[in-house]
């Protein structure tokens, strides 16, 4: 197909690939989270659980790659700007699907949220005992996590997390989409 010819839209393909990647990453991360948070905290400022968002983000980059590859397979060749658009759309789709899945999980299994909050409070208490964080800050930490337990679906928590995810996944997928479009163009 000629590069300037009218081409089919990429929104549907992009959303499907992003949704598949989002569901896979969400299941993997939440299963791993459950394994960590059902154990005992060790009183460390860094826990393995903190690496999960990073693993999700790394996996999310695959959505941009798959969507661009699939669209290139459909239409032949694309401009790198289209790769960037597909990447951006992948990032936004991922954030939307992840947020919806997160809300769904909180509604059907609210205990997970309580488990995470209790684990974190205990972890901070051990950190305070070790002198890594000031004892005075413990009340703030408890208040913050109690708020999270009482209202896990508050608009501010959800909104902030959604904005952060949208920006980060969009940038990561913008780059993965651009690079894939560029490399497939070379092929």
């Amino acid at each position: 197909m000629d590069i300037n010819q009218k081409k089919p839209g990429f929104a549907q393909t992009t959303f499907i690939y992003s949704a598949i990647v989002a569901i896979a990453a969400f299941i993997l991360a939440n299963f791993a989270s459950y394994m960590i948070y059902s154990g005992e905290p060790q009183g460390e400022i860094f826990s393995v659980a903190q690496a999960f968002p990073f693993v999700i983000c790394l996996l999310s980059a695959v959505a941009g790659v798959l969507s661009v590859k699939s669209y290139v397979g459909e239409v032949g060749q694309i401009k790198i700007g289209t790769g960037a658009q597909i990447g951006l759309l992948s990032g936004v789709s991922l954030a939307v699907v992840m947020t919806v899945l997160g809300i769904f999980l909180t509604v059907i299994y609210p205990d997970l949220n309580i488990m995470v909050a209790e684990y974190n409070i205990e972890n901070y208490e051990i950190l305070a005992q070790k002198g890594v964080i000031p004892e005075a800050s413990l009340n703030d930490v408890r208040d913050e996590f109690m708020k999270q337990i009482e209202n896990p679906l508050s608009l501010s928590t959800l909104g902030l997390s959604f904005v952060m995810q949208t920006v980060m996944y969009s940038i990561v997928n913008l780059i993965s989409g651009l690079v894939t479009a560029k490399i497939t163009a070379k092929d």
């Binding site: 968002p53 800050s137 560029k182």
Partner: protein
């Protein structure tokens, strides 16, 4: 003869410099910050979506404030910014060399993956300096891949 697209170039350069600054984090502008305050900060949480932020694999500023991202990520962002920065000096005389850039990208990805595997096998084998250099190689190869897209032919 090739010429840069000035608006695109300036926008991308500015965005990459700002991003690098945010990734280095509050240790640059607030050295009095405690480790706990850093841990609770919004920027730390934001970059936590893209980086594991392991303290042992992260450079510290002012001895106690970690950067917002690990050594490999700071290398990647530094490489991206440096790569965008040197594009004006590369556009005229590197045309024959540009075909090697995709290979450079794949080598960088391969070396980074290998270093992750070696880190699992032996934690002390791969130092933060090696990580930052490998990140730099990967980051540098991305803007170089797009030199053609940021330039217009004037001949």
């Amino acid at each position: 003869m090739y010429k840069l697209k000035p608006l695109w170039y300036a926008g991308i350069l500015l965005a990459s410099v700002i991003w690098l600054g945010l990734a280095i984090g509050p240790g640059m502008w607030n050295p009095e910050l405690t480790l706990f305050e850093w841990h609770q900060s919004g920027l730390k949480q934001f970059f936590g979506y893209a980086c594991h932020q392991h303290p042992l694999r992260t450079f510290f500023l002012s001895d106690h404030v970690p950067m917002n991202v690990c050594s490999r990520c700071i290398g990647i962002y530094g490489g991206l910014t440096a790569g965008v920065g040197i594009i004006p000096f590369l556009i005229t005389f590197t045309k024959p060399l540009r075909r090697f850039v995709p290979a450079m990208l794949w080598v960088a990805i391969g070396l980074n993956l290998a270093s992750v595997v070696f880190s699992w096998i032996d934690g002390g084998l791969i130092t933060n300096t090696i990580r930052v250099l490998l990140g730099l190689l990967f980051g540098l190869s991305i803007p170089l891949l797009f030199i053609d897209s940021l330039t217009t032919s004037t001949s």
